[in-house]
Chain length 239, copies 2
């Protein structure tokens, strides 16, 4: 039964799913849906893949699924070869993974998207970034990173909630943090620099998923340069 992953490597949850599939040796086809070209908004994509017109989404035989956390859980559960540590069978360990993933929605992800959309993506795509929304996003992003640094990365364990091996939550959250590499490098250093545990955690997730983490993330630097150029052009036009 064929697994198709509909995704755009520009999207952080798309990258999390690709890294997960590759690290666990799942057989799948990567179907590229370019957000920049509006391919996720086509009537065919909505009808055949994801009615919410977003990436990532999967089709596995006759089964369709969207929402990246739900996809990661499904892949970890439906494919017997996936090691238990990614999504532990133990009810309490599993509950902690859900708790992190739910927290992520309203905190790190919301902050990160609010900040990056309004400082980088909006202007690059001909829209106006809202400085107030950017500031609110940054505030939530900073608070979320502080919570990861001081609470979720507990004791001396390398991964979230005191685990010695990564779960799908580590992958989802680290991919979100990596998205900062698409923005201004000074911003990224200012925001991430003080968080030594987070910086080590990123390296630990990278090692645990080598070489796929680096391969899937190769898009980040060329994307940053392209976004910087689009922003410069937009600023020039408006002057």
């Amino acid at each position: 039964m064929e697994l198709k992953v509909y995704c755009d490597r520009m999207s952080q949850p798309s990258r999390a799913i690709l890294i997960f599939c590759k690290t666990n040796g799942l057989e799948f086809e990567e179907v590229k849906i370019e957000i920049g070209k509006g391919q996720h908004r086509s009537p065919e994509y909505a009808a055949e893949v994801n009615p919410m017109k977003q990436v990532p989404a999967i089709v596995h035989g006759d089964f369709k699924l969207f929402e990246s956390h739900a996809i990661l859980i499904y892949l970890a559960s439906a494919f017997p070869g996936v090691a238990d540590h990614w999504y532990p069978a133990d009810v309490r360990k599993r509950a902690k993974v859900h708790s992190v993933l739910d927290w992520h929605h309203s905190n790190l992800r919301r902050g990160s998207v609010g900040f990056l959309f309004n400082t980088v993506f909006a202007i690059a795509f001909g829209m106006h970034g809202d400085p107030k929304a950017a500031a609110e996003g940054e505030k939530l992003l900073l608070a979320s990173l502080a919570t990861i640094e001081t609470f979720w990365l507990q004791r001396d364990a390398p991964f979230l909630v005191g685990n010695s091996k990564p779960t799908i939550a580590d992958l989802a959250l680290v991919c979100e943090v990596m998205q900062l590499e698409m923005g201004d490098e000074n911003d990224r250093q200012r925001i991430l620099g003080p968080h030594k545990k987070i910086l080590k955690w990123i390296e630990d997730v990278k090692s645990a998923t080598a070489p796929h983490f680096e391969e899937i993330n190769t898009i980040l630097h060329p994307a940053r340069e392209r976004l910087k150029q689009l922003k410069a052009e937009a600023t020039e036009k408006s002057e």
Copy 2:
């Protein structure tokens, strides 16, 4: 092993968990944490129950958990008496439950909270509601309700994703929609009135969880009257 549920019936996810526990005959203690009195922000609550200083949260023996979706999943998994339909063991049916719950975070919940906070709760508690944020919340709320009406409530099935019996997602989302009863009654009728399937779905969830749904929701009307009064007093003072 004792289960303690730390909650405030003013909070919609708190009510979802209480209805779930009572409907499934779980033995538990309801520990009231009054948000209006700031009890969720006490250092004791943060240290002993939920470091995020929010309700709901549970303590089950030596196990602590927060985030309401994670709690519902844990309760459905850890207590053997809970019927399978609440959180199906089947991997694909379960994945659909996760997909709805994840979608909820960034859509119905975010819209509902943004709308109600800025039209009702802020002014009642001496803060200023932001009209722009209220309008953005309402827009997202309306779009989310339309998606429930036309997509999540599929075919003629009474519950979400075509199910004949409710899952934890039905409970979480219906409790969110019920929160509109704390706001202006004209607003609620304007917003919910056109959605006939949603109105029937609320009744179906109420029947499936009787008599606990109505009992736990008795707080809504007195709360609305109290909030209306606080808003009137605040408006009078500012004039």
